[in-house]
């Protein structure tokens, strides 16, 4: 059985394995392509598609136009090019959605693992979770904005400041579900025999958590992440609506959707574009999550 003569392989990079499995998942590829093109579009789109410079008076004459060659997605109530605005909005929305989701997931996973792994922390952390669930969101956000907006804006400028604050605010108010789920998983995982085995070789808790527990909570975390993106994008629009979000000349998909509502009946495309963009993002993140979950599981991989 042992064949010492053949040169043994070096431990291989798992990344390639994961990728090769990922790339066989049709849904995941679809998701990756869609999300990739969305990101690419919003990153370079605004440089490629530069709308014509119009004076206000000229633009107003062109308001509320339907899709045309000149304005592929039509114009808004001030005659601004919707395509350009959609692209700009996408930058913010995608960034907020992905970053805020990441913060929520990371924080939630962190809390969940601590609560699940260390008995002593369980009760206090779960009560903290209860508290966050019970806090009324809007006053919380109002307070955060009041306390930090100017300070952060002073440090890194109003736009980046708003971004940081919003992303942080959304993240900090949406980690609770993840924490609960992760805690539950960890409670069962830590009784697994391989965790015991790791302890028997003298592994420290941080190693056990990182190597043995964390990788096994990916699957529920992926689901939470999918939902998180959608929620973050929507929450951002609600925040903007409450004046807690980005400066008003900063379009985001959520805000375009919100603004478009007034015109929904007369110019339905005004809500369709941002709605479509949000749905596509969520759908693609969902499929990517599915694929990633499968790819990260060596038991499924290679089958």
């Amino acid at each position: 059985m042992t064949d010492a003569s053949s040169t043994p392989p070096k431990p291989a990079s798992q990344l390639r394995d994961i990728w090769s499995q990922f790339s066989t998942h049709k849904g995941a590829l679809f998701g990756l392509i869609v999300l990739g093109s969305l990101i690419l579009a919003v990153l370079i789109g605004p440089y490629l598609w530069v709308p014509e410079k119009l004076t206000v008076a000229e633009a107003i004459k062109l308001k509320n136009q339907g899709p045309s060659l000149r304005f592929p997605l039509g114009t808004d109530q001030l005659g601004r090019d919707m395509l350009y605005r959609m692209l700009l909005a996408g930058r913010v929305s995608l960034a907020v959605g992905l970053v805020a989701m990441t913060i929520a997931i990371v924080f939630g996973t962190f809390i969940g693992i601590l609560a699940g792994y260390f008995r002593r922390l369980d009760s206090p952390l779960m009560r903290l979770t209860d508290m966050f669930l019970a806090l009324p969101l809007i006053p919380l956000l109002l307070v955060m904005v009041m306390l930090f907006r100017d300070r952060i804006a002073g440090m890194i400028g109003p736009e980046l400041g708003a971004f940081t604050l919003i992303v942080f605010a959304i993240g900090i108010t949406s980690w609770m579900a993840t924490a609960r789920i992760v805690r539950g998983e960890v409670l069962t995982l830590k009784e697994r025999e391989y965790v015991l085995a790791a302890r028997s070789i003298g592994a420290r808790p941080n190693r056990i958590i990182l190597r043995h527990i964390l990788p096994n909570v990916v699957s529920p975390v992926m689901v939470a992440a999918t939902l998180g993106v959608a929620e973050a994008i929507i929450t951002e629009s609600v925040l903007s609506f409450l004046g807690l979000g980005f400066p008003p000349d900063f379009p985001t998909w959520g805000r375009l959707l919100f603004d478009g509502l007034q015109y929904m009946q007369v110019y339905p495309e005004r809500v369709i574009w941002p709605g479509l963009a949000i749905s596509l993002t969520v759908l693609s993140v969902n499929y990517i999550g599915d694929g990633l979950r499968d790819a990260l599981d060596p038991r499924i991989r290679g089958r």
Binding site: P11, S200, R211, P215, P298
Partner: protein, 353 residues
């Protein structure tokens, strides 16, 4: 065989492991699962002690508590001079390389998301500061030792057969050159033809590296094959601790006797001739063991004294320790009479087939 070494490598003294039960409004501590309730034994360096008994009697708990995977309730576990049961955390971590464990379920004890290389080198990450290359070299060496093809380094546990998985578990245990290994039913989950491979491997390693084993199993024939001495456990206590040849030829404790009689011989001729003692009655809960002898609820030879007084584990014959009133009541002289009496009573309560 008994006096193989002057100083035993492993000494367990009155080890207790009680899992607390909390009940009531304020989670008051109202009782304990007495999984291990006063167990003492020693193992000489380079030898194997077999630990047998029925499911749930506390075998795994003994093994795990010895390695401080559970915090023992009481007792001392002296391994190579240090009392593991009371070492402070950092010292314990330093001590871990010298004592290792092979787990019952090879599938469950290997992280499904780690490759063979990761799994086997994990102890090295924790206890050495070798370079990658050095670690890899050691991994290969270990793989050779346990008979795994070096080409398998990048495979995941699910890509191995059960026997191979158990070899990975053994390689991991060997990585830090331990002196003592607890083998917690290392073959129970395996196919017969693979069981033999693993048992042979353990034997070979013991020979080559001078390892000391605590071999936990409920496969009595395997224990007989491997162990020099065997402890039979029942409900958290040791019922009998004897050299294996003596135990298998003439078990003293009624439970050991019943246990041995239940083993199936892979031979139709023998099978027909064997007499089995089928135990009746339910196994008591370890949270609420009977007052006297643990075995009194099912014992075919139960006496009145058994229901009130706990028998101690005493040496009734040279090298043979039994916890049973049949022997202790009669004193050391009564020990030789006991087997006779046993045979007479067999038909009264045990069922004879």
């Amino acid at each position: 065989m008994l006096d193989a070494g002057p100083a035993p490598l492993v000494q367990v003294q009155d080890l207790k492991m009680h899992f607390p039960i909390y009940t009531g409004l304020f989670r008051r501590h109202t009782g304990d699962v007495k999984a291990v309730d006063g167990v003492s034994f020693q193992i000489q360096a380079g030898q194997t002690l077999g630990l047998v008994g029925e499911s749930g009697c506390g075998k795994s708990t003994v093994g795990r508590t010895m390695l401080r995977l559970y915090e023992p309730t009481a007792g001392r576990v002296i391994i190579d001079g240090d009392d593991v049961a009371s070492l402070p955390p950092e010292a314990l971590r330093k001590k871990r390389p010298s004592m290792q464990m092979v787990f019952q379920d090879p599938q469950a004890s290997l992280n499904p998301r780690m490759t063979l290389a990761d799994i086997v080198s994990e102890p090295l990450h924790e206890h050495t500061d070798w370079t990658r290359a050095q670690k890899l070299e050691r991994v290969y060496e270990l793989m050779d030792q346990v008979g795994l093809n070096r080409r398998f380094v990048n495979r995941f546990p699910h890509e191995f057969s059960g026997g191979q998985r158990q070899r990975i578990g053994i390689a991991r245990a060997l990585a830090l050159k331990p002196r003592f290994i607890v083998c917690d039913e290392p073959i129970a989950a395996l196919d017969v033809s693979i069981q033999a491979q693993v048992v042979n491997l353990l034997e070979d390693l013991q020979e080559k590296l001078g390892l000391t084993y605590l071999f936990i199993s409920h496969d009595l024939s395997m224990v007989r094959h491997l162990a020099q001495r065997v402890a039979v456990m029942y409900l958290g206590r040791i019922a009998e601790l004897s050299p294996s040849t003596d135990l298998y030829s003439r078990p003293l404790h009624p439970y050991a006797e019943a246990l041995l009689s239940a083993v199936n011989e892979p031979d139709p001729e023998l099978a027909l001739r064997r007499k089995r003692i089928i135990l009746k009655g339910d196994v008591p809960s370890p949270a609420n063991p009977p007052k006297g002898c643990n075995f009194c609820t099912r014992c075919p030879k139960v006496m009145d004294i058994c229901k009130t007084v706990k028998p101690d584990l005493v040496e009734v014959e040279p090298g043979r320790m039994v916890a049973c009133h049949l022997y202790t009541a009669a004193g050391s002289t009564g020990a030789s009479e006991a087997p006779e009496r046993k045979n007479q009573e067999r038909n009264q309560q045990g069922e004879n087939r």
